[in-house]
């Protein structure tokens, strides 16, 4: 028996979800219409579907898209890997300063980018890494450490020490324990943090703006901000560009929805 209350609840949720997606429908519709059609009837379904504007947007965005791929994939993998080493050390190889160092790393979560921006720029400049892929990758690795170590260390701490002790007795080295026992067990946490890091790094704008505001090395959001200027009031190309830009994160999101939501939820409650 479905009560009236539940029906209303359900309807309300459906309405909210529809309204929630209106902004996205807006750019989807605009990306398929010619500008003259947009000028007469901006928010109705396109009379003729054309991919022209996606092609135009891709022409403008492809260098930036490729830059983002080159930057995001290594940065994500490296930052999670390096953080997992630290998390393993802090959570499973207890030593005197464990908690202090953990606190130090985690406090990095609250440092806003602006607080380091100016000296960081000059540091990277001195290292001749402005407008390079490796410069951006190193920055993303560094700024990803607090959150990655935080999430991974919390998970590693929940692994029963009996497993580690047993392996140790069997002659497994410290590295062996890390690689053969801890990491496989951490698969779901690793999945969560890899997904988050990928999304955050792909979505970055600030570091791209400071360090690679160029077509040669700028990430996708730099490209989008430029499209806004170059195609001012050309809404179909801008919309198509935005849709192209979100393809990777959208794919990751759709494939791993469960992990996304679970990741925030477990991060949140404890």
């Amino acid at each position: 028996m479905v009560s009236l209350q539940r029906i209303i609840l359900y309807l309300l949720l459906v309405v909210i979800c529809v309204l929630w997606l209106v902004p996205v429908f807006g750019i989807i519709i605009a990306s398929f219409k010619s500008m003259s059609e947009i000028w007469t009837d901006p928010w109705s379904f396109p009379k003729q579907i054309t991919l022209r504007y996606f092609v135009d947007a891709w022409k403008a965005l492809s260098p930036f898209f490729i830059n983002s791929v080159i930057i995001t994939i290594p940065a994500t993998l490296l930052s999670v890997f390096i953080a997992s080493l630290a998390a393993y050390s802090l959570a499973r190889l207890k030593f005197v300063a464990s908690n202090l160092i953990f606190l130090l790393l985690v406090s990095g979560l609250i440092i806003p980018g602006q607080a380091a921006m100016v000296p960081l720029y000059h540091l990277i400049d001195k290292m001749k890494m402005v407008n390079t892929y490796r410069g951006l990758i190193l920055i993303h690795i560094a700024w990803g450490q607090p959150i990655c170590v935080f999430i991974l260390a919390r998970f590693f701490a929940t692994i029963p020490s009996e497993l580690q002790d047993a392996a140790s007795i069997d002659g497994c080295s410290v590295i062996g324990i890390y690689w053969r026992i801890i990491m496989p067990l951490a698969k779901s946490s690793l999945a969560v943090i890899l997904i988050f890091q990928f999304t955050w790094i792909w979505n970055d704008f600030l570091w791209g703006l400071i360090f690679a505001n160029t077509i040669s090395h700028g990430p996708i959001n730099i490209g989008l901000s430029r499209i806004k200027g170059e195609y001012l009031a050309v809404w179909n190309v801008q919309s198509a560009g935005a849709l192209l830009a979100i393809i990777p994160t959208l794919i990751v999101f759709l494939l791993f929805q469960k992990h996304f939501v679970r990741g925030i939820m477990t991060g949140a409650i404890k």
């Binding site: 802090l90 000296p119 959001n221 935005a242 999101f253």
Partner: protein
């Protein structure tokens, strides 16, 4: 045996190196640089002590304007997207069919960059073609239609609403986690004792949501203090600085006006705001984690 003793440190070195070198060191340097007058090109020599800070608070209407805008941002963000997220979380919590679909749809904006969110909402706010004005005209509220991003009085609020879209999604997820952590028996017991829905909410659920509320409040204040990308894209702080926020002001000062010492002072102020909000929260978070 020696190997065993230093192994933990070996595992830590890469992470600490990156963090120390690219995060901590520049942050501390910012404080140092803020005491100097520096254009970023010549060597750092002109020590000015706290002059920049004095200038910021007593002699800089643009700084105070940006600070005001961030405060408005904080206040609105604490009221609007958070309660929206809570409201939706309560509904989704009711174990309805297709829950995962609803969750995914609501969560979706969080996967977008603020540049994309900015582009999407700039289109919504377009004076002649955007849906907001079109809908207003259709329902006869013509007089309310206006150039949302071009009007000094409303632009800041327009951008805040746009940014509320992903933020509400975040709040929903956190609150949902908090709600799910409340044992069902507690709610049941309240119902048996005759508590109304509102009473249950006020006296049982809300207090038990404290951890989730702490996170939401802390993060809301923090993101409102350092907001940058969406303003950069949608308005660049305009028209006439009416939507300019601290982070944008700092960027313009440092990189376009070459007042890097002054810019660092602004950055330090941003950091202090964020720091003072976050410290009690980080403390509480790590107290629980103290025994890893």
């Amino acid at each position: 045996m020696k190997m065993k003793k230093i192994t933990p440190y070996l595992f830590l070195i890469p992470s600490l190196f990156f963090f120390g070198f690219f995060v901590l060191y520049p942050t501390i340097s910012s404080v140092y640089v803020s005491f100097y007058k520096w254009d970023g090109i010549s060597p750092i020599t002109k020590f000015v002590g706290l002059t920049h800070y004095k200038e910021l608070f007593f002699d800089d209407p643009y700084f105070l304007n940006a600070l005001k805008n961030n405060i408005i941002w904080i206040v609105i963000f604490l009221i609007f997207p958070t309660s929206l997220g809570l409201f939706i979380a309560i509904m989704v919590n009711e174990n309805i069919r297709g829950e995962n679909v609803f969750k995914s749809i609501i969560y979706f904006p969080m996967t977008l960059s603020f540049i994309v969110v900015g582009l999407i909402w700039t289109w919504i706010y377009e004076p002649r073609l955007g849906i907001l004005n079109s809908v207003l005209k259709t329902i006869g509220l013509d007089s309310l239609a206006r150039p949302w991003l071009g009007s000094r009085q409303v632009v800041l609020y327009a951008v805040i609403i746009a940014a509320s879209w992903p933020h509400a999604a975040f709040c929903m997820v956190v609150f949902l986690a908090g709600l799910r952590a409340i044992p069902v028996e507690v709610i049941e017991a309240a119902k048996i004792d005759g508590a109304s829905a509102w009473q249950s909410f006020r006296h049982i659920i809300l207090p038990l949501l404290r951890p989730a509320l702490t996170i939401v409040i802390a993060i809301t204040i923090i993101v409102s203090s350092k907001v940058f990308s969406i303003v950069y894209l949608m308005t660049m702080g305009g028209p006439a600085r009416s939507s300019e926020v601290l982070a944008l002001y700092m960027y313009l000062t440092s990189f376009l006006q070459y007042r890097k010492g002054y810019g660092c002072a602004i950055a330090v102020v941003i950091f202090l705001i964020v720091f003072s909000v976050a410290i009690p929260y980080v403390k509480r978070m790590t107290e629980k984690e103290a025994e890893l």
